[in-house]
């Protein structure tokens, strides 16, 4: 290992932390030696998404005990804001040429993967993800299948354990809009080259899910459909078309009735004619409103969406 040539590029490691005191130590034991071995210069940016447990104490103690050479800074979020907002914030704080994003600190991969994604990046990609070959959760499977079916962009997404992105990719997504609701999707749509490193998961056990994080991920999955896919637009279009068809059918039926010898109840023709016309108008209007809403959605995209309490550097004595 000693003769390993260390890379000169400056690397930022951004880590999402939310009540993960059990996993933090083993994560740092994997990632920090891997970085020290491979990179001459790196920093660690920890995003503290309002941790309520001892995660921060574990972190500070670890830095002190192991005399970590790299600068370790902590971005404290004002209140729980979820992984996407928090990681956007952490990435904004990072100064590296390349930025590792660890959304989850559960380690089920070999430390070599950390180097492998970097090498893959240098081979001409701007975003490289590490992904487990292991079994996906059923709900995740449905999500990705449906998402990739209906996504507006060309990029296909899948489950990712962590990723590395180039400064170029970060600049690109920034120029696409301030607010990044779902990084994976934005990276996939930014038009730069992406790649994935698949690895064999070392553990088959499913890690404990955080009570707060799970519903947040579910909500994000739902939101992502609205942000990045046209699934709702399609559904509403189908419904509109269906009812439009029914209305037109009704119109035809009424016209046929007029020329028919059979006389319906007095006033039936005019009432139904009016109703058919009215509903036609309503559905046309709804389609227009839906279009407006999607435009407004894009405008809201541009707002900054996270609140920071403090940026702290872990001090060394």
């Amino acid at each position: 290992m000693e003769n390993n040539i260390r890379e000169k590029k400056f690397i930022s490691v951004v880590i999402y932390l939310h009540d993960v005191q059990e996993y933090l130590r083993s994560f740092l034991d994997t990632v920090i030696p891997a970085c020290e071995e491979n990179f001459e210069q790196f920093e660690i940016v920890c995003v503290d998404d309002a941790c309520q447990d001892h995660t921060m104490d574990v972190l500070k103690k670890y830095v002190e005990e192991h005399e970590v050479k790299a600068v370790v800074s902590i971005v404290h979020m004002s209140f729980f804001q979820g992984v996407e907002s928090s990681m956007n914030c952490g990435r904004d704080a990072a100064i590296g040429d390349f930025v590792y994003e660890f959304d989850d600190i559960y380690v089920d991969y070999d430390a070599r993967i950390i180097r492998e994604v970097y090498d893959r990046l240098l081979a001409g990609n701007d975003i490289v993800a590490a992904s487990s070959k292991g079994k996906m959760q059923f709900t995740s499977k449905i999500f990705y299948a449906l998402y990739n079916q209906t996504s507006r962009g060309n990029g296909k997404i899948g489950p990712e354990t962590f990723r590395i992105v180039s400064r170029r990719a970060i600049n690109r997504i920034k120029s696409m809009g301030q607010y990044v609701p779902y990084r994976k999707a934005v990276y996939a749509n930014c038009g730069l080259r992406m790649d994935t490193v698949l690895y064999e998961s070392r553990h088959l056990m499913v890690r404990k899910r955080n009570k707060e994080v799970s519903p947040e991920r579910t909500a994000l999955a739902m939101d992502s459909f609205i942000y990045f896919t046209n699934v709702l637009e399609r559904i509403s279009a189908v419904i509109s078309a269906l009812f439009l068809g029914l209305t037109v059918g009704m119109g035809i039926y009424i016209i046929l009735d007029m020329f028919n010898s059979r006389k319906p109840v007095e006033g039936w023709l005019s009432t139904m004619g009016f109703l058919a016309l009215g509903f036609f108008g309503v559905f046309t209007l709804l389609t227009i409103i839906l279009k407006y809403l999607s435009v407004m959605l894009n405008l809201i995209f541009r707002q900054q969406r996270y609140m920071v309490a403090d940026v702290e550097k872990v001090v060394k004595e």
Binding site: V71, K174, V311
Partner: protein, 384 residues
């Protein structure tokens, strides 16, 4: 043989040399005791060399107003060491800043200091800052200022300068303070000024006969990087506010720029009363060169930390347009004491504590050069 003086001043930084000059001009005999071999070897030299106008205190208007007042006086008194022909640009970071562009402008208006809006894109990369302002702020050249004071005081028969000397202890005796040197020499005076900055508590600790009320400070071992600016950067100084950002600005008249970053300039921190750092361990302890009881000069120390250049330069590069380039020249290190009470609202850059009267023992601690005039009232009030 005890030598008698009107005033004994400990430390030949700006505060000590200014005080010596101030008293000598009033006909008092002054002794200056300095640990290093020359004046201005530590914090007076190793800092951003900024003559503060008050822009740094958007959260404390009173400090800003005071700073602005002293700025004029300092620039007038020491014009020979001031460098002012460059554009000093302050910008507010778009993210992580405590102050936004609008608030900064309002603050400058209230403080009555210059603040002209500039196009952000002229200096900064896309989306990094939400406002850029042309301000009035200068830089001083510590080497020129030090030479001025040294020549002036050496020529003055009232002043005795001793460099490279070690104080053993200071004893209060009736109406005098007796300063005992490690060599056994003794000096006495009814007035002692402790202007040793980072060693302020270490000196207080050596005084016998007064209550040992130490300053509540934390210590930071700081690094200032000197770099050579590209032609577009030569006539520009840039400071990004208000949080974990950076500053790159001319360093006196040296032709170099100083680069500092709030996060990366401090390398190590000590929260003890007296500075305790692991780099002091096992380093020339017999000689007593650096210990919690006596700080050495970090800038000359073999155990100084590795440069944070990769960090600082990457931070600055992320903000600046590529034409504002610079190359590494060298690093300067010094110990910086920070008053704990001044952290939240930026207030009180200067603390002056009268620790004994008749005889008088005064300790001064200040991180800003142009507040040196705060000393006047204390020095003038104690003539014999």
């Amino acid at each position: 043989m005890k030598r008698h003086y009107d005033k004994i001043i400990i430390g030949a930084g700006l505060y000590g040399m200014y005080a010596a000059d101030f008293c000598a001009r009033r006909g008092q005999s002054v002794l200056v005791l300095e640990y290093d071999r020359a004046p201005f070897q530590r914090a007076t030299y190793v800092n951003q060399a900024r003559v503060h106008m008050g822009y740094h205190y958007p959260r404390s208007l009173t400090t800003a107003l005071k700073s602005a007042g002293y700025f004029r006086r300092f620039v007038e008194d020491f014009s020979f060491c001031i460098y002012d022909s460059f554009e000093q640009v302050y910008a507010t970071s778009d993210k992580f800043s405590w102050t936004n562009a609008g608030q900064f402008q309002t603050f400058c208006k209230e403080a009555g200091i210059r603040c002209e809006e500039m196009p952000v894109s002229r200096y900064f990369a896309d989306g990094m800052c939400d406002g850029a302002f042309l301000t009035e702020e200068y830089t001083y050249d510590a080497a020129i200022l030090g030479k001025y004071f040294l020549e002036r005081l050496e020529a003055d028969s009232h002043v005795t300068l001793q460099f490279g000397v070690r104080i053993e202890r200071i004893i209060k005796q009736n109406s005098r303070f007796l300063v005992v040197m490690q060599t056994g020499e003794e000096y006495e005076a009814p007035f002692v000024l402790n202007a040793s900055y980072a060693s302020v508590n270490q000196v207080i600790d050596r005084v016998e006969g007064i209550p040992k009320s130490m300053f509540a400070i934390k210590y930071e071992l700081c690094e200032i990087i000197l770099c050579r600016p590209s032609p577009p950067l030569q006539k520009v100084g840039i400071t990004v506010m208000d949080g974990p950002f950076f500053s790159i600005m001319p360093f006196g008249r040296t032709g170099l720029h100083s680069l500092t970053a709030v996060t990366f300039t401090p390398h190590m921190t000590s929260y003890e009363e007296k500075p305790v750092f692991h780099c002091q361990r096992g380093f020339d302890e017999d000689e007593g060169r650096c210990s919690p009881g006596q700080l050495g000069n970090c800038n000359e120390c073999a155990h100084r930390p590795a440069s944070a250049w990769p960090y600082m330069s990457h931070l600055a590069d992320k903000y600046l347009r590529p034409e504002y380039a610079y190359t590494y020249e060298k690093s300067l290190y010094s110990m910086k004491p920070i008053l704990k009470s001044s952290e939240v609202d930026d207030s009180r850059p200067t603390a002056i504590a009268v620790m004994s009267e008749h005889p008088t023992f005064i300790s001064v601690l200040s991180g800003k050069i142009n507040t040196v005039y705060d000393l006047d009232a204390f020095l003038a009030g104690e003539t014999e």
